[in-house]
Symmetry: C2
Subunit: 583 residues, 2 copies
């Protein structure tokens, strides 16, 4: 074996310096396996974008090497990208937990790519093989969604443990304990590298058990007099189980509102992850017949998402659910940073409509699904890795996580802090940051099923910030304006007088025509030859200058120049060569 | 006196259901006094807006009644609107603390409105008179900015105490204690109504003293090896004093960066609110000569504001300050909700450049300037008001504050929860919510010194979300297209083929012309009369329909129709009357 063959290349294409779009490549020799492929949501300024995906250039170029994918759990930031990638990548097989694959199958069907891969369900401690070089063992872990796994990836350079998303929940709601024994066994035998979830690396202590929420929700439910509306993450299967159990205890039927909540509950019930009596769940349109104190409405929208059920309810825009005095609304979720304003605005609107709203940390009605510093220490002590790679977090979280690892005796040179697209070269005796592969982002506008490229985004930002100006000018063959140029302003703020602006633009165009017409128009062989394209560029530049100066901003300019033969102008402008116009 | 004359009308035009643009009107009979006039910053979707002001319609209409303004302290959300209002309102006199008026004077000068009012400085326990009906006493309070006041407003219906912004800081940095004695005296004599700051109404306990930050900053400073960069709110004069004191203690000179920080420090030093030796402060361009361990750079940008010094430093875009390995950056401020993402992104970038960044609550290097629930209780117990009006907060904070007041024995019917523009009618024996005056918002785009009206904002939102399409079509007098219509797309996402779209639009236009030309063009007296305007509307409607269907979105359409006599078309379109074109 050559030295080169002894390098495992680990390439996270997403999930670093961010929370979202977790997508990791493991490459050895001529084989690649993928671990998860998630999506992220757009940040400010990504106008009209609703999904963000990692740049897949590297995988497109190495598509032939892909042996398959490992899926750790069913959250959007781990499986939400797969349907998009299958349109351009050949991923022959995907192994993952039952719940994640059920959710994924729905997405693939919707996108019409069900036949592009094979989904195979795994059980705890199952070992699957990919190609010649990779074996992967699935190790049950505990997280906010049911049926979640860590994985042990056996590679030619050694065993790599990827934690997936986890916390140590010693009293899980579904009784499915973290398989600590298996982790410890790996630790005993020797783990070459630990790749670990850094989400809560800044927070001291242990993350409380999901079960700790139960008595607090119970107290809140027992105090509600009228209808109860409860919102949480649609994927929080454990939380939903507890809410259903408490609904039954307090004599309330449950109506579920919101597409993703209905979808998850349907799949989770079919697979047995959510257990409740059939008559506990009632269709929304029937609950008006039931007394308020016997009703619980379970909805999406815990993050103030604009189109979600809870947001529409708070705006009085939901057709079937109208808030009234006596309603109690429970936010069993904390706002993710960036969503805070949307969430508190929703809470305010609900209060103004007369609802009592229960929200905030002091009620103990939400806990994180990710471990904190003590969970991280326990993970490191169980696995005792030689090398360490913090993932799934923003830069400062990765730094904190690496400091935790160092405090436990892993030398600083045995870990790397990386960004998306960095190639980690893991050898028998070293870890280092190697070359970088393309790792930008791809923006998807699902409502139009199109990709938003950076040019479109930049145009939208300019349009949003400064508006746009359309100017149409007709020019005669004698080099004069045929008429006053037309001007349309959209989204432009200005204290400048409109007519004055139009006059200045006309002046500018006439000045260019007067001073420079002879440069662009020549008579050859009795034919007038006008370089319309060149003239267009000159005039447009001058008009843009006037706009910048007069409006003190930089609106997007659409400049239309017509001559007696408009098609000639247009073609000329495109080809940047002079067009001939009969004199 | 008639019954009507016994009503004090309290009208907050801003500051409710929000944190920002605090502006309150007190009206009795034919007299109005104002309390503060602040600004707010734009929220998402207010493209290109940088300042938000309250709707001043009510004051414009009642400008003749205005006797003057009371200013409680120098924060932007209390004085930032004044320079704008003075352009349209006649406010003869403003009374306020020395520091606030110094900051305000600079703003008025910059806006060229210094001569539009008279600024008069007050000292603690000063009493000023406005018109026939109002006396106001200034009562020293404690807040994050120096020289801050609560006020007792003597009105014909009784004494109204407005707390301004406050917390009870028993060990203030400047030794200027809250004048609790005076509050207690008012409580003893009888306070008719308490109007109180609700910012931290959701948080239990007392807000710690500003001084509690000192030992924690001291510890952080003592651990810094290289340069120290510290950011906090420019207006936090007490904090800045402590930072300067600690810089001296640790043998560091201080270079100040950022316009607002330089401005506040200059004024505060002149007035004696900031005390430090002259040679402690050094110009930024000289500090490269000083060893790293003897340098402290004090900057703006604690909220991740896009154009602030710290943000530019973190992006490597600041000309004079480049981050290097060994720098320690201290965020002595917590992110205001809505700024979290900007702040953590700044922190991440600083870390990536090699800085050690100290941030977050656990370091104890920031405390709020606003009181929590126990401060609120103490305020209520000191003043023992008959009526209670919670202000300065979002809706849920007002609710919580009113619950605190109720828990102390003030009956629910003696308080009102109001929104901006609600008129509170305070009488001898009642408080109620009366009519509503206009209380929307006015959006300012300061870089273009123009107001952004709702139409412009809506256009910008449409442009940002869906982009725009410009289509130009030339139509002959025979009712046919002169050439293929021109089409420009900007910021439009589409998987639709461009040429195909253009062909469909051409089809649509030709169909309208074929089917309906005869409706719009008639020959009268041998002259062809074309209703270009009517035709324009028809075609534009059809084109918009095609765009919506083909692009599955609703871009802004600019439709330009030319005929052989373009001016005629344009005028026709504007006047909506048929233009005559010679046949």
């Amino acid at each position: 074996m050559t030295k080169d063959n002894e390098t495992l290349r680990i390439i996270p294409l997403g999930g670093l310096h961010e929370i979202g779009k977790n997508t990791c490549v493991f490459e050895y020799d001529d084989e690649i396996i993928l671990l998860d492929a998630g999506l992220a949501f757009p940040t400010d300024g990504m106008h009209g974008v609703n999904i963000v995906l990692p740049d897949m250039t590297y995988l497109r170029e190495n598509s032939h090497k892909i042996k398959g994918m490992v899926i750790t759990h069913g959250h959007e930031d781990h499986i939400g990208g797969i349907a998009f990638h299958l349109k351009q990548l050949d991923i022959p097989v995907m192994y993952g937990p039952k719940l994640a694959l059920a959710l994924l199958a729905g997405k693939l069907e919707e996108a019409g790519v069900s036949d592009r891969t094979e989904l195979r369900t795994v059980s705890p401690r199952d070992i699957v093989r990919f190609g010649k070089h990779f074996f992967v063992e699935f190790i049950r872990n505990t997280h906010s969604i049911a049926d979640s796994f860590s994985v042990a990836i056996h590679t030619p350079v050694g065993v790599v443990i990827h934690t997936g998303d986890f916390k140590f929940d010693h009293t899980p709601v579904d009784g499915e304990a973290f398989d600590i024994q298996r982790l410890a066994e790996y630790g005993e035998k020797g783990v070459h590298c630990l790749i670990s979830d850094s989400t809560n690396a800044e927070i001291p202590g242990f993350t409380p058990s999901e079960r700790s929420v139960f008595p607090n929700l119970d107290r809140v439910f027992s105090q509600a007099k009228g209808r109860l509306l409860v919102t949480t993450f649609a994927s929080s299967v454990h939380r939903i189980n507890m809410i259903l159990e408490l609904a039954e205890k307090h004599g309330r039927v449950v109506a579920v509102v919101g597409r993703s909540m209905l979808n998850v509950i349907a799949h989770a019930r079919t697979l047995g992850y959510i257990k409740c009596k059939d008559d506990l769940l009632q269709p929304l349109h029937t609950i008006h017949k039931i007394p308020d104190e016997n009703v619980l409405i379970l909805t999406t929208g815990s993050q103030g998402e604009p189109m979600s059920a809870m947001t529409r309810i708070s705006k009085g825009e939901h057709r079937q659910v109208k808030i009234r005095e006596g309603d109690t609304v429970v936010f069993s979720a904390n706002p993710i940073p960036g969503n805070t304003i949307a969430v508190v605005n929703t809470i305010d609107r609900l209060m103004m409509l007369g609802a009592k709203v229960i929200y905030g940390r002091e009620h103990g009605i939400h806990v994180s699904g990710h471990g904190c510093q003590e969970d991280h220490k326990l993970m490191i002590n169980l696995t005792r890795p030689k090398f360490f790679l913090p993932v799934h977090g923003e830069h400062r979280m990765l730094i904190k996580h690496s400091q935790t690892a160092q405090s436990m005796g892993i030398p600083a040179e045995n870990m790397v802090i990386i960004d998306n697209g960095d190639v980690v070269e893991l050898k028998k005796d070293s870890i280092r940051k190697g070359e970088k592969v393309p790792a930008g982002i791809e923006l998807v506008d699902t409502s139009r099923s199109g990709m938003v490229d950076q040019r479109v985004l930049k145009e939208r930002q300019q349009l949003a910030g400064d508006g746009m100006v359309t100017i149409a000018a007709s020019i005669n063959l004698d080099g004069r304006l045929f008429a006053k140029p037309e001007m349309h302003l959209r989204g432009v703020v200005s204290s400048v007088n409109r007519d004055q602006l139009q006059a200045r633009i006309q002046d500018a165009i006439e000045t260019v025509l007067r001073d420079r017409w002879s440069e662009f128009a020549r008579t050859l062989d009795k034919k007038l030859e006008v370089d319309w394209a060149g003239l267009n560029v000159q005039i447009e530049r001058e008009v843009q200058r006037i706009l910048r100066r007069e409006l003190q901003s930089n609106p997007l300019l659409v400049f239309l120049m017509q001559s007696p033969e408009p098609t000639a102008v247009k073609n000329a402008a495109r080809q940047r060569t002079p067009a001939k116009v009969a004199s």
